[in-house]
Protein backbone atom coordinates (compact mmCIF):
# COMPACT_ATOMS: atom_id res chain seq x y z
CA UNK A 1 0.00 0.00 0.00
CA UNK A 2 1.48 3.34 -1.05
CA UNK A 3 1.55 6.53 0.94
CA UNK A 4 -1.27 9.07 0.89
CA UNK A 5 -0.82 12.56 -0.45
CA UNK A 6 -3.17 15.47 -0.94
CA UNK A 7 -3.34 18.28 -3.45
CA UNK A 8 -5.34 21.44 -2.98
CA UNK A 9 -6.55 22.68 -6.37
CA UNK A 10 -9.51 24.66 -5.08
CA UNK A 11 -10.43 27.81 -7.01
CA UNK A 12 -8.26 26.74 -9.91
CA UNK A 13 -9.98 26.48 -13.24
CA UNK A 14 -9.34 23.68 -15.69
CA UNK A 15 -6.87 22.74 -16.95
CA UNK A 16 -4.88 23.92 -13.92
CA UNK A 17 -6.12 21.15 -11.59
CA UNK A 18 -5.04 18.61 -14.22
CA UNK A 19 -1.63 20.25 -14.62
CA UNK A 20 -1.08 20.34 -10.85
CA UNK A 21 -2.14 16.69 -10.56
CA UNK A 22 0.22 15.68 -13.36
CA UNK A 23 3.15 17.58 -11.81
CA UNK A 24 2.46 16.18 -8.34
CA UNK A 25 2.27 12.61 -9.62
CA UNK A 26 5.72 12.97 -11.13
CA UNK A 27 7.22 12.93 -7.63
CA UNK A 28 5.09 10.00 -6.40
CA UNK A 29 5.66 6.26 -6.51
CA UNK A 30 3.55 3.60 -8.17
CA UNK A 31 0.77 2.60 -5.81
CA UNK A 32 0.70 5.91 -3.94
CA UNK A 33 -2.68 7.49 -3.33
CA UNK A 34 -3.35 11.11 -4.22
CA UNK A 35 -6.42 13.03 -3.11
CA UNK A 36 -7.15 16.10 -5.17
CA UNK A 37 -9.59 18.67 -3.83
CA UNK A 38 -10.98 21.06 -6.43
CA UNK A 39 -13.93 23.30 -7.09
CA UNK A 40 -14.12 23.43 -10.90
CA UNK A 41 -16.62 20.75 -11.94
CA UNK A 42 -14.67 20.39 -15.19
CA UNK A 43 -12.03 18.54 -13.16
CA UNK A 44 -14.53 15.70 -12.67
CA UNK A 45 -14.21 15.09 -16.36
CA UNK A 46 -10.65 16.13 -17.08
CA UNK A 47 -8.73 14.45 -14.24
CA UNK A 48 -10.21 11.00 -14.92
CA UNK A 49 -9.58 11.48 -18.68
CA UNK A 50 -5.99 12.45 -17.98
CA UNK A 51 -5.61 9.41 -15.68
CA UNK A 52 -7.03 7.05 -18.30
CA UNK A 53 -4.58 8.12 -20.97
CA UNK A 54 -1.60 8.21 -18.66
CA UNK A 55 -2.19 4.92 -16.89
CA UNK A 56 -3.39 5.99 -13.43
CA UNK A 57 -6.49 4.81 -11.66
CA UNK A 58 -9.34 6.88 -10.28
CA UNK A 59 -10.35 5.23 -7.02
CA UNK A 60 -13.31 7.47 -6.22
CA UNK A 61 -14.89 10.84 -6.84
CA UNK A 62 -17.09 12.54 -4.29
CA UNK A 63 -18.82 15.89 -4.22
CA UNK A 64 -19.16 17.75 -0.94
CA UNK A 65 -21.09 20.96 -1.41
CA UNK A 66 -18.99 23.01 -3.80
CA UNK A 67 -15.92 20.84 -3.34
CA UNK A 68 -14.97 17.83 -5.38
CA UNK A 69 -12.66 15.17 -4.03
CA UNK A 70 -10.94 12.93 -6.54
CA UNK A 71 -8.86 10.04 -5.22
CA UNK A 72 -6.28 8.47 -7.53
CA UNK A 73 -3.89 5.62 -7.40
CA UNK A 74 -0.63 6.25 -9.18
CA UNK A 75 0.06 3.78 -11.97
CA UNK A 76 3.41 2.63 -13.24
CA UNK A 77 5.33 3.24 -16.41
Amino acid sequence: MGTRHTLDARRQLCPLPVIRTQNKIRSLEKGDILEVVCTDPGALHDIPAWCRINGHKVVSTTTRGDEILITLEVGGE
Binding site: R11, L13, C14, P15, L16, V18, I19, Q22, N23, D40, P41, G42, H45, D46, A49, W50, R52, I53, N54
Partner: protein, 347 residues
Protein backbone atom coordinates in the same frame (compact mmCIF):
# COMPACT_ATOMS: atom_id res chain seq x y z
CA UNK B 1 13.06 -2.40 -25.60
CA UNK B 2 10.97 -0.29 -27.87
CA UNK B 3 13.23 0.78 -30.70
CA UNK B 4 10.62 2.74 -32.57
CA UNK B 5 11.28 6.37 -33.38
CA UNK B 6 9.44 8.79 -31.11
CA UNK B 7 7.61 11.94 -32.07
CA UNK B 8 6.17 14.61 -29.83
CA UNK B 9 2.98 16.07 -31.31
CA UNK B 10 1.66 19.53 -30.51
CA UNK B 11 -1.96 18.86 -29.66
CA UNK B 12 -4.22 21.89 -29.62
CA UNK B 13 -7.46 20.00 -29.34
CA UNK B 14 -8.50 20.85 -32.89
CA UNK B 15 -8.81 18.56 -35.88
CA UNK B 16 -5.57 19.41 -37.72
CA UNK B 17 -3.16 18.47 -34.95
CA UNK B 18 -5.20 15.35 -34.35
CA UNK B 19 -4.91 14.24 -37.97
CA UNK B 20 -1.20 15.07 -38.08
CA UNK B 21 -0.58 12.82 -35.08
CA UNK B 22 -2.77 10.13 -36.57
CA UNK B 23 -0.81 10.07 -39.85
CA UNK B 24 2.43 9.59 -37.95
CA UNK B 25 0.98 6.93 -35.66
CA UNK B 26 -0.04 5.09 -38.82
CA UNK B 27 3.62 4.87 -39.77
CA UNK B 28 4.45 2.92 -36.62
CA UNK B 29 6.02 5.85 -34.81
CA UNK B 30 5.58 6.20 -31.05
CA UNK B 31 3.73 9.49 -30.52
CA UNK B 32 3.05 11.44 -27.33
CA UNK B 33 1.15 14.71 -27.21
CA UNK B 34 2.11 17.99 -25.65
CA UNK B 35 -0.28 20.84 -24.95
CA UNK B 36 0.55 24.27 -23.60
CA UNK B 37 -1.56 26.22 -21.17
CA UNK B 38 -0.96 29.94 -21.66
CA UNK B 39 -3.87 31.26 -19.60
CA UNK B 40 -5.59 32.49 -22.78
CA UNK B 41 -6.71 29.09 -24.01
CA UNK B 42 -10.37 28.72 -24.81
CA UNK B 43 -10.77 25.80 -22.50
CA UNK B 44 -13.60 25.13 -20.11
CA UNK B 45 -13.16 28.29 -18.00
CA UNK B 46 -16.12 30.27 -18.98
CA UNK B 47 -18.11 27.08 -18.98
CA UNK B 48 -17.00 26.41 -15.44
CA UNK B 49 -17.98 29.91 -14.46
CA UNK B 50 -21.29 30.55 -16.15
CA UNK B 51 -24.12 28.77 -14.43
CA UNK B 52 -26.07 28.11 -17.60
CA UNK B 53 -23.11 26.23 -19.06
CA UNK B 54 -22.30 24.25 -15.95
CA UNK B 55 -24.49 21.30 -16.71
CA UNK B 56 -23.31 20.85 -20.26
CA UNK B 57 -20.95 17.99 -20.76
CA UNK B 58 -17.53 19.51 -20.56
CA UNK B 59 -14.31 18.26 -21.86
CA UNK B 60 -10.79 19.37 -22.44
CA UNK B 61 -10.38 18.98 -26.18
CA UNK B 62 -6.69 18.14 -26.04
CA UNK B 63 -7.39 15.33 -23.56
CA UNK B 64 -10.23 14.11 -25.72
CA UNK B 65 -7.98 14.00 -28.78
CA UNK B 66 -5.24 12.16 -26.90
CA UNK B 67 -7.70 9.60 -25.64
CA UNK B 68 -9.15 9.07 -29.11
CA UNK B 69 -5.67 8.57 -30.53
CA UNK B 70 -4.60 6.41 -27.62
CA UNK B 71 -1.55 8.53 -26.84
CA UNK B 72 -0.23 10.13 -23.67
CA UNK B 73 -0.70 13.85 -23.21
CA UNK B 74 1.54 16.20 -21.28
CA UNK B 75 -0.03 19.53 -20.41
CA UNK B 76 2.55 22.18 -19.69
CA UNK B 77 1.95 25.36 -17.74
CA UNK B 78 3.68 28.15 -19.67
CA UNK B 79 1.77 31.03 -18.09
CA UNK B 80 4.84 32.94 -16.88
CA UNK B 81 7.06 32.47 -19.91
CA UNK B 82 4.25 33.23 -22.30
CA UNK B 83 3.86 36.78 -20.97
CA UNK B 84 6.86 37.97 -22.93
CA UNK B 85 5.32 36.58 -26.13
CA UNK B 86 2.09 38.51 -25.60
CA UNK B 87 3.75 41.68 -24.37
CA UNK B 88 6.71 41.93 -26.76
CA UNK B 89 6.01 39.89 -29.89
CA UNK B 90 8.93 40.30 -32.28
CA UNK B 91 6.70 39.71 -35.27
CA UNK B 92 3.82 41.80 -34.01
CA UNK B 93 0.15 40.96 -33.67
CA UNK B 94 -2.49 39.56 -35.99
CA UNK B 95 -5.91 41.16 -36.36
CA UNK B 96 -6.23 41.47 -32.57
CA UNK B 97 -3.69 41.00 -29.77
CA UNK B 98 -2.84 37.52 -31.05
CA UNK B 99 0.93 37.14 -31.51
CA UNK B 100 0.48 33.97 -33.59
CA UNK B 101 3.87 33.78 -35.25
CA UNK B 102 5.84 34.33 -32.04
CA UNK B 103 3.44 32.01 -30.26
CA UNK B 104 4.01 29.16 -32.71
CA UNK B 105 7.78 29.66 -32.51
CA UNK B 106 7.56 29.62 -28.73
CA UNK B 107 5.47 26.45 -28.58
CA UNK B 108 7.66 24.59 -31.02
CA UNK B 109 10.71 25.71 -29.03
CA UNK B 110 9.15 24.37 -25.82
CA UNK B 111 8.32 21.14 -27.62
CA UNK B 112 11.93 20.91 -28.83
CA UNK B 113 13.19 21.31 -25.25
CA UNK B 114 10.76 18.64 -24.11
CA UNK B 115 11.87 16.37 -26.96
CA UNK B 116 15.52 16.73 -25.94
CA UNK B 117 14.83 16.15 -22.25
CA UNK B 118 12.73 13.08 -22.92
CA UNK B 119 14.79 11.42 -25.64
CA UNK B 120 12.31 11.91 -28.47
CA UNK B 121 13.38 12.19 -32.11
CA UNK B 122 11.24 14.82 -33.81
CA UNK B 123 8.29 17.18 -33.53
CA UNK B 124 5.03 17.23 -35.45
CA UNK B 125 2.39 19.92 -35.71
CA UNK B 126 -0.94 20.21 -37.48
CA UNK B 127 0.11 23.30 -39.41
CA UNK B 128 -1.19 23.64 -42.95
CA UNK B 129 0.27 26.06 -45.50
CA UNK B 130 -2.05 29.02 -45.98
CA UNK B 131 -4.47 27.97 -43.27
CA UNK B 132 -3.92 30.97 -41.03
CA UNK B 133 -3.05 34.46 -42.26
CA UNK B 134 -0.06 34.99 -39.99
CA UNK B 135 1.63 31.89 -38.69
CA UNK B 136 0.82 29.33 -41.36
CA UNK B 137 2.07 30.89 -44.57
CA UNK B 138 4.64 29.39 -46.87
CA UNK B 139 7.05 32.18 -45.94
CA UNK B 140 6.44 32.10 -42.19
CA UNK B 141 6.61 28.35 -41.67
CA UNK B 142 10.42 28.34 -42.02
CA UNK B 143 10.52 31.18 -39.45
CA UNK B 144 8.87 28.90 -36.90
CA UNK B 145 11.32 26.07 -37.67
CA UNK B 146 14.29 28.41 -37.40
CA UNK B 147 13.35 30.48 -34.37
CA UNK B 148 12.26 27.47 -32.35
CA UNK B 149 15.62 25.83 -32.98
CA UNK B 150 13.79 22.75 -34.24
CA UNK B 151 15.06 23.17 -37.82
CA UNK B 152 14.79 19.95 -39.80
CA UNK B 153 13.27 18.07 -36.88
CA UNK B 154 9.96 19.88 -37.30
CA UNK B 155 7.59 17.93 -39.52
CA UNK B 156 4.16 19.12 -40.65
CA UNK B 157 2.53 15.94 -41.91
CA UNK B 158 -0.51 17.66 -43.42
CA UNK B 159 1.55 19.87 -45.77
CA UNK B 160 4.82 17.93 -45.83
CA UNK B 161 4.79 17.14 -49.54
CA UNK B 162 4.62 20.83 -50.40
CA UNK B 163 7.58 21.62 -48.14
CA UNK B 164 11.25 20.68 -48.41
CA UNK B 165 11.97 17.22 -46.91
CA UNK B 166 12.71 17.26 -43.20
CA UNK B 167 15.21 15.06 -41.36
CA UNK B 168 12.67 12.39 -40.38
CA UNK B 169 11.83 12.04 -44.09
CA UNK B 170 15.43 12.12 -45.29
CA UNK B 171 16.51 9.53 -42.77
CA UNK B 172 13.60 7.30 -43.69
CA UNK B 173 11.96 7.32 -40.25
CA UNK B 174 8.86 8.57 -41.98
CA UNK B 175 7.66 7.71 -45.48
CA UNK B 176 7.15 11.05 -47.23
CA UNK B 177 4.87 9.53 -49.85
CA UNK B 178 2.34 8.75 -47.14
CA UNK B 179 2.24 12.34 -45.92
CA UNK B 180 -0.14 14.95 -47.31
CA UNK B 181 -0.04 18.02 -49.52
CA UNK B 182 -2.81 20.12 -48.05
CA UNK B 183 -2.84 23.88 -48.36
CA UNK B 184 -5.21 26.81 -48.11
CA UNK B 185 -8.08 27.71 -45.88
CA UNK B 186 -10.49 25.01 -46.94
CA UNK B 187 -11.28 22.44 -44.28
CA UNK B 188 -12.84 19.92 -46.62
CA UNK B 189 -9.87 17.54 -46.99
CA UNK B 190 -9.43 17.44 -43.23
CA UNK B 191 -13.09 16.69 -42.73
CA UNK B 192 -12.98 13.94 -45.33
CA UNK B 193 -9.92 12.45 -43.68
CA UNK B 194 -11.62 12.59 -40.28
CA UNK B 195 -14.54 10.73 -41.81
CA UNK B 196 -12.18 8.09 -43.20
CA UNK B 197 -10.63 7.61 -39.80
CA UNK B 198 -14.07 7.45 -38.19
CA UNK B 199 -13.38 10.53 -36.09
CA UNK B 200 -16.51 12.44 -35.19
CA UNK B 201 -17.41 15.05 -32.64
CA UNK B 202 -14.08 16.85 -32.85
CA UNK B 203 -13.78 20.49 -31.80
CA UNK B 204 -14.15 23.13 -34.50
CA UNK B 205 -12.75 26.31 -33.05
CA UNK B 206 -13.88 29.46 -34.79
CA UNK B 207 -10.99 31.79 -35.53
CA UNK B 208 -8.29 30.48 -33.29
CA UNK B 209 -7.26 28.45 -30.34
CA UNK B 210 -7.12 31.29 -27.85
CA UNK B 211 -8.93 34.34 -26.54
CA UNK B 212 -6.33 36.68 -28.01
CA UNK B 213 -7.96 36.30 -31.44
CA UNK B 214 -11.19 37.64 -29.97
CA UNK B 215 -11.74 41.36 -30.61
CA UNK B 216 -13.70 42.05 -27.40
CA UNK B 217 -11.19 40.20 -25.30
CA UNK B 218 -8.27 42.03 -26.89
CA UNK B 219 -9.99 45.38 -26.28
CA UNK B 220 -10.23 44.54 -22.58
CA UNK B 221 -6.58 43.58 -22.42
CA UNK B 222 -5.54 46.76 -24.23
CA UNK B 223 -7.69 48.76 -21.80
CA UNK B 224 -6.02 47.06 -18.83
CA UNK B 225 -2.57 47.97 -20.12
CA UNK B 226 -3.58 51.52 -20.87
CA UNK B 227 -5.16 52.04 -17.44
CA UNK B 228 -2.14 50.65 -15.63
CA UNK B 229 0.32 52.56 -17.76
CA UNK B 230 2.31 49.40 -18.39
CA UNK B 231 1.97 46.29 -20.46
CA UNK B 232 1.93 43.35 -18.11
CA UNK B 233 -0.54 41.03 -16.43
CA UNK B 234 -1.02 38.33 -13.85
CA UNK B 235 -3.04 35.18 -14.38
CA UNK B 236 -5.88 36.60 -12.28
CA UNK B 237 -6.06 39.65 -14.54
CA UNK B 238 -6.50 37.67 -17.71
CA UNK B 239 -8.98 35.30 -16.10
CA UNK B 240 -11.08 38.23 -14.93
CA UNK B 241 -11.15 39.58 -18.48
CA UNK B 242 -13.19 36.51 -19.39
CA UNK B 243 -15.83 37.19 -16.76
CA UNK B 244 -18.66 39.70 -16.44
CA UNK B 245 -19.32 43.00 -18.16
CA UNK B 246 -16.47 45.48 -17.90
CA UNK B 247 -17.28 49.18 -17.63
CA UNK B 248 -14.81 52.01 -17.20
CA UNK B 249 -16.71 55.07 -15.94
CA UNK B 250 -13.49 56.96 -15.14
CA UNK B 251 -9.95 56.51 -16.44
CA UNK B 252 -8.70 55.47 -13.01
CA UNK B 253 -11.18 52.69 -12.25
CA UNK B 254 -13.30 50.05 -13.89
CA UNK B 255 -16.09 47.79 -12.74
CA UNK B 256 -16.42 44.09 -13.40
CA UNK B 257 -20.10 43.25 -13.02
CA UNK B 258 -21.31 39.66 -12.81
CA UNK B 259 -23.93 38.80 -15.43
CA UNK B 260 -25.39 35.82 -13.64
CA UNK B 261 -25.04 33.70 -10.55
CA UNK B 262 -22.07 31.64 -11.69
CA UNK B 263 -20.10 34.76 -12.52
CA UNK B 264 -21.09 36.38 -9.21
CA UNK B 265 -19.78 33.33 -7.38
CA UNK B 266 -16.58 33.41 -9.34
CA UNK B 267 -16.06 37.12 -8.62
CA UNK B 268 -16.77 36.44 -4.97
CA UNK B 269 -13.42 34.67 -4.79
CA UNK B 270 -11.64 37.95 -5.51
CA UNK B 271 -13.14 39.96 -2.66
CA UNK B 272 -9.88 40.02 -0.75
CA UNK B 273 -8.18 41.72 -3.69
CA UNK B 274 -10.75 44.30 -4.79
CA UNK B 275 -13.42 46.54 -3.36
CA UNK B 276 -16.69 44.66 -3.93
CA UNK B 277 -20.17 46.09 -4.43
CA UNK B 278 -23.42 44.21 -4.04
CA UNK B 279 -27.00 45.40 -3.92
CA UNK B 280 -28.74 44.40 -0.69
CA UNK B 281 -32.22 45.95 -0.94
CA UNK B 282 -32.82 44.21 -4.28
CA UNK B 283 -31.41 41.11 -5.96
CA UNK B 284 -28.52 42.15 -8.14
CA UNK B 285 -25.03 41.43 -9.30
CA UNK B 286 -21.74 41.35 -7.49
CA UNK B 287 -19.25 43.82 -8.89
CA UNK B 288 -15.54 44.36 -8.33
CA UNK B 289 -13.93 47.75 -8.51
CA UNK B 290 -10.49 47.67 -10.09
CA UNK B 291 -8.40 50.82 -9.69
CA UNK B 292 -8.19 53.81 -7.39
CA UNK B 293 -11.53 55.26 -6.36
CA UNK B 294 -12.35 58.20 -4.10
CA UNK B 295 -15.72 58.56 -2.30
CA UNK B 296 -17.39 60.15 -5.35
CA UNK B 297 -16.14 57.36 -7.57
CA UNK B 298 -17.46 54.72 -5.19
CA UNK B 299 -20.84 56.44 -5.18
CA UNK B 300 -20.88 56.49 -8.97
CA UNK B 301 -19.86 52.82 -8.99
CA UNK B 302 -22.72 52.00 -6.62
CA UNK B 303 -25.17 53.80 -8.90
CA UNK B 304 -23.95 51.82 -11.90
CA UNK B 305 -24.24 48.53 -10.02
CA UNK B 306 -27.75 49.50 -8.85
CA UNK B 307 -28.62 50.03 -12.48
CA UNK B 308 -27.87 46.37 -13.19
CA UNK B 309 -29.94 45.15 -10.22
CA UNK B 310 -33.64 44.39 -10.07
CA UNK B 311 -34.05 47.74 -8.33
CA UNK B 312 -33.14 49.65 -11.48
CA UNK B 313 -36.43 51.55 -11.50
CA UNK B 314 -36.60 52.06 -7.71
CA UNK B 315 -35.88 55.57 -6.40
CA UNK B 316 -33.04 54.25 -4.26
CA UNK B 317 -31.12 51.02 -3.93
CA UNK B 318 -28.96 49.96 -1.03
CA UNK B 319 -25.51 48.86 -2.11
CA UNK B 320 -23.06 47.25 0.25
CA UNK B 321 -19.47 48.28 -0.39
CA UNK B 322 -16.81 45.99 1.06
CA UNK B 323 -13.13 46.88 1.05
CA UNK B 324 -10.49 44.18 0.57
CA UNK B 325 -9.82 44.23 4.34
CA UNK B 326 -13.46 43.36 5.02
CA UNK B 327 -14.58 46.83 6.20
CA UNK B 328 -18.03 47.50 4.79
CA UNK B 329 -20.67 50.19 4.58
CA UNK B 330 -24.06 50.63 2.96
CA UNK B 331 -24.76 53.37 0.41
CA UNK B 332 -28.32 54.34 -0.53
CA UNK B 333 -28.14 55.54 -4.11
CA UNK B 334 -30.45 56.30 -7.03
CA UNK B 335 -29.71 53.85 -9.85
CA UNK B 336 -28.01 55.54 -12.78
CA UNK B 337 -30.49 55.90 -15.66
CA UNK B 338 -29.56 53.86 -18.73
CA UNK B 339 -29.16 57.04 -20.75
CA UNK B 340 -26.40 58.14 -18.40
CA UNK B 341 -24.29 55.08 -19.06
CA UNK B 342 -22.52 56.06 -22.28
CA UNK B 343 -21.53 53.37 -24.72
CA UNK B 344 -17.85 54.33 -24.31
CA UNK B 345 -17.90 53.03 -20.75
CA UNK B 346 -18.36 49.51 -22.03
CA UNK B 347 -14.97 48.01 -22.70
Amino acid sequence: MDTRRKAVALISGGLDSMLAARLILDQGIHVEGINFYTGFCVEGHTHAIRRKDRDRPKRNNALWVAEKLGIKLHIIDVIEEYKDIVINPRHGYGANLNPCLDCKGFMVRKAREWMEENGFDFIITGEVIGQRPMSQRRDTMPVVARESGAGGLLLRPLSARLLPPTLPEEKGWVDRTRLLDLSGRTRKPQMALAERYGLHDYAQPAGGCCFLTNAQYSAKLADLWQARGRRDYELDDIMLLKVGRHLRPRPHFKLIIGREEGENNYLQGYRSQFTALRTVSHPGPLALLDGEAGPEDVELAARVVARYSQGRTAPRVEVEVTDPDGAHRILRVPPLPAAEIPQEWHI
